[in-house]
C-alpha cells in the first residue's frame, strides 16, 4: 500500500498533516516538548501575543461544565518582546510551522504586532484573534462588527506578506457574513470557532463560578456548533477554513474535514492529555487507512447530502 498523503496547504503554508494545536491550549509550545516532538505537528499555533505583557484575569478562571469547560484567562501572555527574545529562538529548533496568534485593543496595536513580528524568521504566519474589545470603539469586539473586522483585516493585509488567518468569534448573528468580510479584507484563511460565551453558577452560594462571571465555553459541548459554522462558511468562501471546537479523536477531526475544513486544531483536549493532537493525528491516519483514502484532501468538503436537503 502506498503511503497516505496527509499534506495540506493553508494560506500558502504547506502542512505535513492537517492537525494543528489551538491557540491558548498549548502555551508557547515549549510546554509540550516533554511529551512529543513538536516537529510532528502540522502547525503550532502559540497562545495569543499582545504588544505588552498581560497579567490576565483574577481567579477563579476556569470551571468544568457538562462536556466542556468555561475559561476566562484574560489573554494572559508574556508580551511581544519576551516572545521574540525568549520563545521564538527555541521554537526554531523544531521543524514545524509556527503560527503566532495576535491580539490587540486597537487596530494600531494589531498593526505594530504584525509589523514587528513579520521581520522575524520563525514566524510563519499570523492567526488574528478578533474576539478582543476595541477600546477605541467603545469596547465592541473586532469580531462582532462586520465593518470593523473587514477594515482591520485590510489594514493588516497592507502590512504583511505573511499568511493572515482570521480566527472568527461564534458570538455573532451571521457567521457567514463575518467570514465573507474577512475574505474581502484579504485574509488567507479562517479559523472557526473561538469559544462560545457562557456562564455557570453555584446554586448553593448563588455565586458565579468564574470571577469574571462570563467566560468562553470550549470542549466537546461546542463541537456541533463549530461543525455547523465550518460547514456554512466553507461553502461560501474560497479561502481555506481551519476547524476547531471539541476535537478529541481522529474521527472528530475527520468530521470537520468532511464539513469543509482544510485543517483542524486540537484545543481543550490538551488539558486531558498533553499529546492529544498526536492521538488525533494518529486516529485520523487510521481512519484514512480503514477507508483506503490515499490523500487526506479527498475528505475535504466530502459531506454526503441527499439530492434535495431539507434546510
Amino acid at each position: 500500500m502506498t503511503k497516505i498523503d496527509t499534506t495540506v496547504s493553508i494560506a500558502g503554508l504547506s502542512l505535513k498533516t492537517p492537525v494543528m494545536t489551538a491557540s491558548g491550549t498549548c502555551g508557547y509550545g515549549l510546554e509540550l516538548t516533554p511529551y512529543f516532538d513538536l516537529s510532528r505537528l502540522g502547525a503550532l499555533v502559540v497562545k495569543g501575543i499582545s504588544l505588552e505583557p498581560r497579567p490576565g484575569n483574577p481567579p477563579p478562571r476556569i470551571v468544568e461544565t457538562s462536556g466542556g469547560m468555561l475559561n476566562a484567562i484574560g489573554l494572559e501572555n508574556i508580551g511581544m518582546e519576551a516572545f521574540i527574545a525568549e520563545t521564538l529562538p527555541r521554537l526554531r529548533e523544531y521543524e514545524t510551522v509556527v503560527i503566532v496568534n495576535i491580539l490587540g485593543e486597537s487596530q494600531e496595536e494589531y498593526g505594530t504586532l504584525v509589523d514587528e513580528m513579520s521581520r522575524h524568521e520563525g514566524v510563519d504566519g499570523f492567526e488574528v484573534n478578533v474576539s478582543c474589545p476595541n477600546v477605541r470603539k467603545g469596547g465592541i469586539a473586532f469580531g462582532s462588527d462586520p465593518e470593523m473586522l473587514e477594515k482591520l483585516v485590510r489594514f493588516l493585509r497592507e502590512r504583511t506578506e505573511k499568511p493572515l488567518i482570521i480566527k472568527l468569534s461564534p458570538n455573532v448573528t451571521d457567521i457567514v457574513d463575518m467570514a465573507k468580510r474577512a475574505e474581502a479584507g484579504g485574509a488567507d484563511g479562517l479559523t472557526l470557532i473561538n469559544t462560545i460565551r457562557g456562564m455557570s453558577i453555584d446554586s448553593e452560594s448563588r455565586r458565579p463560578h468564574l470571577a469574571t462571571v462570563v467566560g468562553g465555553l470550549s470542549g466537546p459541548a461546542i463541537k456541533p456548533v463549530a461543525l455547523r459554522m465550518v460547514w456554512e462558511v466553507a461553502q461560501q468562501v474560497k479561502i481555506p477554513v481551519v476547524g476547531v471546537g471539541g476535537i478529541l479523536s481522529g474521527e472528530d477531526a475527520v468530521e470537520f474535514l468532511i464539513a469543509g475544513a482544510t485543517a483542524v486544531q486540537v484545543g481543550t483536549a490538551h488539558f486531558r492529555n498533553p499529546a492529544a493532537c498526536i492521538e488525533v493525528m494518529e486516529g485520523m491516519e487510521r481512519y484514512l487507512e480503514r477507508h483506503a483514502i490515499q490523500d487526506v484532501r479527498d475528505l475535504i468538503g466530502s459531506i454526503q447530502l441527499d439530492p434535495s436537503p431539507v434546510a
Binding site: 502555551g27 483574577p58 481567579p59 476556569i62 484567562i73 508574556i78 466537546p220 488539558f271 492529555n273
Partner: protein, 279 residues
C-alpha cells in the same frame, strides 16, 4: 517561563489497590516505576479515567507515598470524578500525568520542622514527613486537624522514630478540641528559645487554615512553605487556569498571578497575596 519537570510523562497505569481507609477517604496505589523514581514530596499527578469524557478534565492528586515502584494517593470522595475513582479495581487503567509541580524544598537536617495538615491536606504532607523523619537530626512535629475523629488517617508508617504527632478534632472526640491553629498556638511557645532560622514550617489544608497560619508565621518571621490548591484543567502549565495572586516584584501593592501547577504548588507563605484570594 517555568516548564514541566523534565521527568514528567503521561502513561496508562494499572491500579494495584484502592481501599476506603476511613469513611469517604480512599488510599489508592498504582504501579508506576518512572513516576516512583522521580516523585518528590509535595509534587502531584493529574489523573483521569480513560475513556470517559465525563468528567472531561483530569484532577490533581498529591503524591501521598512512594514505595518501590508503587505510587499512592489519598483522596476524599466528593464529586463525580472521585466517585468514579473510588469504584476502580485492581488492574483497571488510569491515565497518569506526572510528577508535576515543584514540591517542598527539604530543609537542612539540623532544622526543626513543624508540619501542619488540615483534613485531606494530610495527603500532601505525608510523603514529606517520611522524608523528614529519614533526614532530620532535629525534631519534627506534625499538627493535624480534622473535623471529626472519624476522619483521622491511620499513621502506622509515621508512629515511630521521634515524630511528635498532635491531633485536634472539631468534635473533641480525640486530641485537642479545636483546629490546627489551636495546636499551633500551644506548639509555638515551645520553640521560643530557638532562632527562627532554625525552624521551618510546612502546611497544606483548607484556605482559611492556611490564611491563619500565614498570619502567625509572618508575625514570627518564620519560614513557611505552603502547598496550595486551585481549580486546575491541565496541571502542566498550558491552561493558565490555576493561578493565585502574589505580591508584585517591584510594587507589593501590585498583584501578579502565578500558576499553582508549574510555579507551585508549594510557595513561600509570605509571598502570597492573601487579601486577594476569595474564600
Amino acid at each position: 517561563m517555568p516548564l514541566t519537570p523534565r521527568n514528567a510523562h503521561a502513561a496508562l497505569i494499572p491500579v494495584l489497590s484502592n481501599r476506603e481507609i476511613v469513611p469517604g477517604i480512599f488510599r489508592m496505589a498504582f504501579e508506576a516505576p518512572r513516576l516512583a523514581a522521580g516523585a518528590k514530596p509535595g509534587q502531584f499527578v493529574m489523573l483521569s479515567i480513560p475513556p470517559t469524557h465525563d468528567p472531561l478534565l483530569p484532577r490533581p492528586f498529591a503524591v501521598f507515598n512512594v514505595d518501590g515502584q508503587r505510587v499512592e494517593i489519598l483522596y476524599r470522595r466528593v464529586g463525580k470524578g472521585t466517585g468514579l475513582l473510588s469504584g476502580m479495581r485492581t488492574g483497571d487503567l488510569l491515565r497518569v500525568l506526572g510528577p508535576l509541580g515543584n514540591g517542598f524544598a527539604l530543609p537542612d537536617p539540623s532544622v526543626t520542622s513543624i508540619v501542619l495538615a488540615g483534613g485531606i491536606g494530610f495527603a500532601s504532607v505525608h510523603f514529606l514527613l517520611l522524608k523528614l523523619l529519614k533526614r532530620q537530626t532535629a525534631p519534627t512535629t506534625l499538627l493535624y486537624g480534622v473535623r471529626s475523629h472519624e476522619e483521622i488517617i491511620p499513621m502506622e508508617s509515621l508512629d515511630k522514630k521521634g515524630l511528635l504527632i498532635r491531633v485536634a478534632t472539631e468534635d473533641g472526640q480525640q486530641g485537642v478540641k479545636g483546629t490546627v491553629i489551636d495546636l499551633l498556638s500551644t506548639t509555638l511557645p515551645r520553640t521560643e528559645n530557638l532562632p527562627t532560622a532554625t525552624i521551618e514550617s510546612f502546611a497544606c489544608g483548607p484556605l482559611a487554615m492556611l490564611r491563619a497560619v500565614a498570619g502567625r508565621m509572618k508575625g514570627l518571621g518564620m519560614r513557611a512553605q505552603f502547598s496550595m490548591e486551585s481549580r486546575m484543567a491541565c496541571g502542566y502549565g498550558v491552561c493558565q487556569g490555576c493561578v493565585i495572586p502574589f505580591k508584585g516584584d517591584d510594587d507589593p501593592k501590585q498583584i501578579k498571578y502565578r500558576k499553582v501547577c508549574t510555579e507551585g504548588p508549594v510557595f513561600a507563605a509570605e509571598e502570597i497575596c492573601w487579601d486577594a484570594i476569595q474564600e
